[in-house]
C-alpha cells in the first residue's frame, strides 16, 4: 500500500525544481505499484526452474523464506526508488537480503544481480505505451539510472557475500584444525616424536 502523505510531500518538493510533467511518471508508478511489483516478483521467480517458481510466488515467511524475502524486499526497494533514495541504508539492506540468497544459489554473478533490471521489464510491460508518451518518456530517462544504480549496489553486495563465504570457509578449515593444533602443542612439548595427530 502506498502512503499518500509521503508521495504528496515528494511531489511538492519536486515542484520546486522540476516542471510539472515530472509527476506524470511518478503518479503512474504509484498507481500501478501493486501490479508492477507482482510482475517483478513473477519475473524473478521465473529465474528459478519452472517447477519451483510457482512455489516461490507463495509468501509464507517460514515455509517459504526465499519467496517471502524477495516479495518483502522488492516492495521496500520500490518505495525507496520512488522516493528517489537510491543510496539509502534501507536500499542497501534490502538488496543485501535478496543477494545474500541468490549468492548461494545456482546463479552466475550476472544472473544473481540482474534481477534488478527485471524491474524495468516489469514497468515496461505494465505501463507500456504510457511511458512512450513524451512527458513520461523524458521522466523515464531521469528515472532509469536509479535502477542501474541499484544494480551496481547489488553487485557490491554480491561480492561482499562471496567474500564472506570464502572467509567462512577458511574459518571452518582453521577451526577444524584448531583443536588438533592445540593438542599438537601440548603433546609436542613432551614428546614430539609421537605428535602424529592429523591424518
Amino acid at each position: 500500500m502506498y502512503h499518500f502523505g509521503q508521495v504528496d510531500l515528494f511531489q511538492r518538493n519536486l515542484k520546486l525544481d522540476l516542471s510539472c510533467y515530472v509527476m506524470a511518471l511518478t503518479k503512474l508508478l504509484t498507481q500501478h505499484k501493486d501490479a508492477i511489483l507482482q510482475r517483478w516478483l513473477n519475473l524473478i521467480a521465473d529465474t528459478y526452474p519452472t517447477e519451483a517458481s510457482a512455489f516461490l510466488k507463495g509468501k509464507d515467511r517460514f515455509s517459504n523464506p526465499v519467496g517471502y524475502t524477495i516479495s518483502q524486499e522488492i516492495n521496500a526497494l520500490y518505495e525507496e526508488l520512488l522516493q528517489g533514495r537510491v543510496d539509502s541504508d534501507k536500499t542497501a539492506a534490502s538488496l543485501d537480503n535478496i543477494i545474500r540468497i541468490r549468492a548461494i544459489q545456482d546463479f552466475s554473478p550476472q544472473e544473481a544481480v540482474s534481477f534488478v533490471f527485471l524491474l524495468k521489464k516489469a514497468m515496461l510491460e505494465e505501463l507500456g505505451s504510457e511511458i512512450e508518451k513524451e512527458q513520461s518518456f523524458r521522466e523515464w530517462l531521469d528515472f532509469e539510472p536509479g535502477i542501474d544504480k541499484l544494480a551496481s549496489i547489488a553487485f557490491d553486495k554480491y561480492v561482499e557475500c562471496r567474500e564472506k563465504i570464502c572467509e567462512l570457509r577458511v574459518k571452518e578449515v582453521k577451526a577444524d584444525k584448531e583443536i588438533a593444533v592445540k593438542l599438537l602443542n601440548l603433546v609436542g612439548g613432551a614428546n614430539m616424536e609421537h605428535g602424529e595427530v592429523m591424518e
Binding site: 519452472t50 517460514f62 523464506p65 524495468k120 567462512l168 571452518e172 592445540k182
Partner: protein, 510 residues
C-alpha cells in the same frame, strides 16, 4: 552467454528459465561449492571399501568397474530383500506432493529435484525398470528409466544433498522416509566405489582411534587435563576426570567434536550410509562399556549418535546384558525408558537432577543470553526428546524464546549439514539447506533480540555458527550444557566473573 558486457536492455531479453524438460532426463552439473569431494584412496582401503580408487565427482570418467550396472542392480535386489522400508517406499508413493516443499534443500535452492518425492523417484524409476512389470512393459510411460552413468551421477549429486533429517516423513501420509531411500542410494553408490571424503575419512579415523580427527589417546588425555585446569581457573573447583578407569559407575560417551569430555572417548559416527559400517563403529561403545565394567552409559549431546542409540544400537550390537538398568546415582530415579539399551541421554539425566532439586542453579548467570532452542532432527524425529531440553532451559536461564511452531519440535528444520555433508567444500549447498533454519532464527532475533541458539547436537554446534554468521550475524551457538555449566553454583566455588567461554559477566550481574 557472451563474454561482452550486455547492455541492460539486452539483459532484459534473456530468458533465465531452464529448458522445459521432464525430470527423467538426468542433468547434473557439479559446480564448485555444491558437492563433496571423493574419499582419499588411503581411507577407502583402510576400511576395505569396494572398488577403491582416486576419484572426484566432476571427473568426466568416473572409472566405474566394468560391470557396475550389475553390481548396482544386484545390490538393489539385496537391499529390497533386506529392508521392508525400501521395498515398500518404492511401491506406495502416490505423488501427492505433500512433501514437496518440506525439504530445507528445496526451500533454499529451488531445485525441483530436491523435492523429497523426486529424490526418491530418481531411484524409483530405476526400480520400476528392473523390478516391476509395468516398468518393464511401458518404459518411460510407466515411469521407468534405464540405469545409465548419468543417472548414477544424478544419484550421487542428490543423495549427497539430503541430510536424512526425516522432516518429509512427518508430512507423508504413508510415512515414506527419504532418509531410508537416501541411505540405500548411498549404499548402492558405495558398492561401485562412489563415496565422499567427509564420511569415509572420519569413519576410518573412528575405526582406528575412536574419534573422527584421528587424535591418539595420549593427546586426548592431555586435552582433558587441559579442560580440567580451565574449569579450575574459572570456578576454583578441581573436578575429577578419569580416563579409562575400570569399575567406574558410568561411561560417558560424547561426540568427538566436544573436546570438553569425560571418561573414555569413544564416539560413534552415526553416518548411516552403511548399516555394516554403523555396526562396526557402534560396536565400540558397548565393547568399551563391557571392558570397563561400568553399570550403564550416559550419552552426551549428539544428534546422530542418538538416532543410532535410540533406533539402532541395541539391535546392532545388543543385548547389553552385562550392564545394569540405569538408575541415577544421585536421585535414585530409574530410567525405565532405557532399560534394554542401558543408555541415558544427558538431557534426561540432567532434567531428573533438576526436578529433584539436586543442582543449585542461578539462572541469572545466563542473563547475558537471550536464547532460542534448535531441536536437532535426530532427537526430535528419531526419538521424541522434546520437553527435556526445554525443561532444562527454563531452569537455567530467564530469557528463552521459541521459534515459530512450524519450525521446531517434530517439524524442526535441519541445520543443513548432517549425514556426512557438512564439509567445507560443500559450503554453498549447506548455506542453501540452512536457510529455512536461519530464517526462523532471524525472526526471533528481530522480534526478541535473541543472541544465542542453543542445540544438543555436535554437528549443529560445528556447522551452525558458520550458517548464522552468513545469514544472521550476531547470533551465537552453544550446547545446552554450556548453559547448565554457566548457571551451576558449586560448593566452594570462587566468585565467578566470567561464563564458561571466559566472557566476563555484565557489570550489574557480577
Amino acid at each position: 552467454m557472451s563474454d561482452e558486457v550486455a547492455a541492460p536492455e539486452e539483459l532484459l531479453e534473456i530468458d533465465y528459465r531452464p529448458p522445459k524438460k521432464g525430470w527423467m532426463e538426468p542433468t547434473v552439473e557439479f559446480k564448485k561449492g555444491t558437492y563433496c569431494y571423493g574419499a582419499p584412496l588411503k581411507h577407502q582401503e583402510y576400511l576395505g571399501l569396494p572398488n577403491p580408487r582416486q576419484w572426484q565427482p566432476p571427473d568426466e570418467d568416473w572409472q566405474l568397474p566394468e560391470n557396475w550396472k550389475d553390481i548396482i542392480l544386484e545390490g538393489m535386489d539385496e537391499l529390497l530383500n533386506k529392508y521392508r522400508s525400501f521395498r515398500l517406499f518404492m511401491d506406495i508413493c502416490v505423488r501427492c506432493g505433500a512433501c514437496a516443499d518440506k525439504c530445507h534443500f528445496f526451500i533454499g535452492s529451488g531445485d525441483p529435484k530436491n523435492m523429497p518425492v523426486l529424490r526418491a523417484e530418481l531411484i524409483r524409476s530405476v526400480y520400476r525398470k528392473h523390478f516391476t512389470l509395468p516398468g518393464k512393459l511401458f518404459g518411460k510411460m510407466g515411469g521407468a528409466r534405464e540405469l545409465t552413468e548419468d543417472v548414477l551421477k544424478e544419484w550421487f549429486y542428490y543423495f549427497y544433498q539430503c541430510t536424512e533429517c526425516r522432516r518429509c516423513s512427518v508430512y507423508c501420509p504413508y510415512g515414506i522416509d527419504t532418509c531410508e531411500i537416501t541411505m540405500m542410494g548411498r549404499e548402492l553408490l558405495n558398492l561401485v566405489g562412489c563415496n565422499i571424503g567427509w564420511i569415509v575419512e572420519p569413519a576410518s579415523n573412528c575405526f582406528r582411534t575412536g574419534n573422527h580427527l584421528g587424535v591418539p589417546p595420549h593427546a586426548f588425555k592431555d586435552t582433558l587435563d587441559f579442560a580440567v585446569d580451565e574449569i579450575e581457573e574459572l570456578t576454583g573447583i578441581k573436578v575429577e576426570a578419569s580416563v579409562n578407569r575400570k569399575g567406574a559407575e558410568l561411561l560417558f560417551i560424547t561426540p568427538s567434536a566436544d573436546y570438553f569430555a569425560s571418561p573414555h572417548w569413544y564416539t560413534l559416527m552415526g553416518y548411516m550410509h552403511s548399516a555394516d559400517m554403523a555396526k562396526k563403529l557402534n560396536a565400540k561403545m558397548y565393547a568399551e562399556a563391557k571392558r570397563l565394567g561400568v553399570k550403564w552409559i550416559l550419552g552426551g549431546e549428539c544428534g546422530h549418535m542418538w538416532r543410532v542409540v535410540n533406533q539402532y544400537m541395541d539391535t546392532l550390537n545388543g543385548p547389553a546384558d552385562y550392564l545394569e538398568e540405569p538408575v541415577s546415582p544421585i536421585t535414585g530415579t530409574k530410567f525405565e525408558n532405557s532399560k534394554s539399551t542401558k543408555m541415558v541421554h544427558i538431557c534426561e539425566f540432567t532434567a531428573d537432577l533438576m526436578y529433584n532439586n539436586k543442582l543449585r542453579l542461578d539462572p541469572s548467570l545466563n542473563d547475558h543470553w537471550r536464547l532460542t532452542f534448535h531441536d536437532s532432527c535426530n532427537t526430535a524425529r528419531g526419538m521424541g526428546l522434546i520437553e527435556e531440553p526445554r525443561y532444562i532451559i527454563n531452569n537455567v536461564c530467564n530469557n528463552f524464546y521459541e521459534m515459530p511452531e512450524n519450525t521446531i519440535k517434530e517439524r524442526t528444520f535441519c541445520c543443513g549439514s548432517g549425514a556426512g555433508i557438512g564439509s567445507d567444500e560443500n559450503l554453498e549447498m549447506r548455506l542453501r539447506g540452512g536457510l529455512p533454519r536461519a530464517n526462523a532464527v532471524k525472526h526471533v532475533q528481530e522480534k526478541h533480540g535473541v543472541n544465542l541458539l542453543t542445540c544438543i547436537c555436535a554437528i549443529d554446534r560445528a556447522t551452525l555458527p558458520t550458517l548464522l554468521q552468513y545469514w544472521v550475524p550476531g547470533v551465537e551457538v552453544s550446547g545446552l550444557h554450556e548453559l547448565v555449566g554457566n548457571a551451576l553454583v558449586m560448593k566452594g566455588q570462587k566468585d565467578r566473573t566470567t561464563d564458561m567461554r571466559g566472557t566476563p559477566f555484565e557489570v550489574e550481574e557480577s
